[in-house]
Assembly symmetry: C2
Homo-oligomer: 106 residues x 2
Amino acid sequence: MRLENLHEIQEKELFPGYHGKLFHGEQLSWAFWRVDQGSAVPEHHHLHEQMMHVISGRFEFTLDGITKICEAGDLIHIPSNQVHSGKALTDCVLMDVFSPARDDYK
Amino acid sequence: MRLENLHEIQEKELFPGYHGKLFHGEQLSWAFWRVDQGSAVPEHHHLHEQMMHVISGRFEFTLDGITKICEAGDLIHIPSNQVHSGKALTDCVLMDVFSPARDDYK
């Protein structure tokens, strides 16, 4: 059985200010982020379908030209190949899930 | 943009004692569970690859004949079609992600 504890997974700064812990499967990846206030991810897109969940903080998120301020409890669906960007307005804790797996984050 | 807040998603008791909030995409489903102490899911399997994450509580989990007691922070990978079962030893808060989407939970 593959069992890991989040507290033992090594954090990687995959983008400036985005400290991620990753758990990968065959067709799934789960990312746990600690994001520093002010850190932004520029517009990008990817084949992987994505869902984002805000655990804490305020995160400005733009999908296909629409911007929303996301807060604790929010869930966002990001379809495959749809352009999106984001910026942490405060320190944030976020989760993302992806399918297929994010081989580029391994 | 499809944005929902977890606090506004209606909970469904999908199995006795398993109160779930579901967020579905095309190839992904995310389940947020509140599980009552003592509630068990018998052995089952499904095509969907699954990852489980324990937020709080103690959850006895069996995968392919191996049993572990899972606690806060634990992440478990459940490959497609692998037999598994579980029992909440205390009240638990769990998350599951699946690919493909759990159309049977819609």
